[in-house]
């Protein structure tokens, strides 16, 4: 009877209405990822695709898995999902634990002594 049962994918409010679910609900109240540093530029990439039926993932996590088919930074995922970076960190750590994504943490400052890095970046910028 209800339109939602017939069309489960029907959006029942517009995006303009704002988030229906608060970010802390998505993370079940958690504010810290289970592990990892998760810088804003930590890159995530999907290594195992998830289908809605078998995975049991929340829609937000499914959306992240889809979005990260191409490597994306935490900042890009947060902007794309319109969620705070802190929420994305928690969801990403869950996806990492379940083997859906792989991560690459950025260089630490002590690793910034690699001359080839600077040369490559300078060449790249000059070629823009």
């Amino acid at each position: 009877m209800s339109p939602f049962e017939e069309h489960p994918e029907t959006q029942w409010v517009g995006e303009e209405a704002g988030p229906i679910v608060r970010p802390y609900v998505l993370t079940r109240g958690r504010t810290e990822p289970t592990r990892g540093r998760f810088d804003l530029i930590t890159l995530a990439v999907t290594v195992r695709s998830a289908s809605p039926r078998e995975s049991g993932l929340d829609p937000e996590c499914l959306a992240i898995v889809r979005f990260c088919r191409q490597p994306q930074s935490v900042a890009e995922i947060a902007a794309h999902m319109n969620l705070p970076a802190g929420t994305i960190r928690v969801l990403l750590s869950d996806l990492l634990d379940q083997g859906f994504i792989a991560l690459q943490e950025p260089h630490s400052e002590t690793d910034m002594h690699d001359e080839s890095l600077y040369r490559a970046v300078l060449d790249g910028l000059r070629a823009l």
Binding site: I41, L43, H80, P84, P106, Y118, L128
Partner: protein, 207 residues
């Protein structure tokens, strides 16, 4: 923990190395404009919660001194081949929270401090911060229409800038100009961290 992460992606996908550059400066100095000018994507916005974890301040009250604030950041991206991705972060209007920048500055290649000659003092907090933290930074003087064109030596004097810190004029709306700013920063960061001068045949450092 980090090694656990890397082992997962081994053999699967080769991820580029992500590099962070910060764009700081006073309110309205052109941070978001600069990010947008050089970025290959439309600048995106993200919200980040920043915390100063146990910054050494005299605390006479004995209460919790941990401070948290949510800042909005505009960022852009420059892909450099398959190996590197540059992310530029501007912090629009968040100068008051400079003491919370540690999480942002962590791992940054360097920073551009944008100066507006009409309000030079606005960029003092950023300068102090990066100097103290020893993050390589340069000063880019954004040339606004109608602003008096100052001599760079005058601006350097006004900012009491160390002679080793490069200072350049720029137009944050011009892509070529933005590129030059970034190149100057990367050259300076390379010199600071490796102690070597960048590629031969370059112009002498600005004084």
């Amino acid at each position: 923990m980090d090694s656990a992460h890397s082992s997962r992606d081994a053999g699967q996908v080769k991820l580029p190395r992500a590099i962070k550059i910060l764009v700081a400066g006073g309110f309205g100095a052109g941070k978001t404009t600069l990010v947008g000018t050089v970025s290959e994507i439309e600048p995106l916005r993200t919200e980040e919660t920043l915390t100063n974890r146990g910054v050494g301040v005299d605390d006479l009250s004995g209460v919790e001194t941990k401070q948290t604030t949510t800042v909005a950041m505009d960022f852009g991206r420059i892909t450099i081949g398959d190996d590197y991705r540059l992310y530029l972060f501007g912090t629009p209007g968040q100068e008051r929270f400079w003491f919370l920048w540690d999480e942002l500055a962590l791992g940054a290649l360097g920073a551009v401090v944008l100066a507006d000659t009409r309000r030079l003092a606005d960029c003092f907090p950023s300068l102090d911060y990066f100097e103290r933290r020893e993050t390589p930074f340069i000063v880019a003087v954004n040339c606004f229409d109608g602003a008096r064109r100052y001599d760079l030596d005058e601006v350097r004097l006004g900012l009491t800038l160390h002679p080793d810190i490069p200072i350049v004029l720029c137009d944050a709306r011009e892509r070529e100009s933005g590129k030059e700013v970034l190149i100057t920063l990367v050259e300076h960061a390379m010199k600071m961290r490796l102690g070597t001068a960048p590629a031969a045949g370059n112009t002498a450092p600005a004084t």
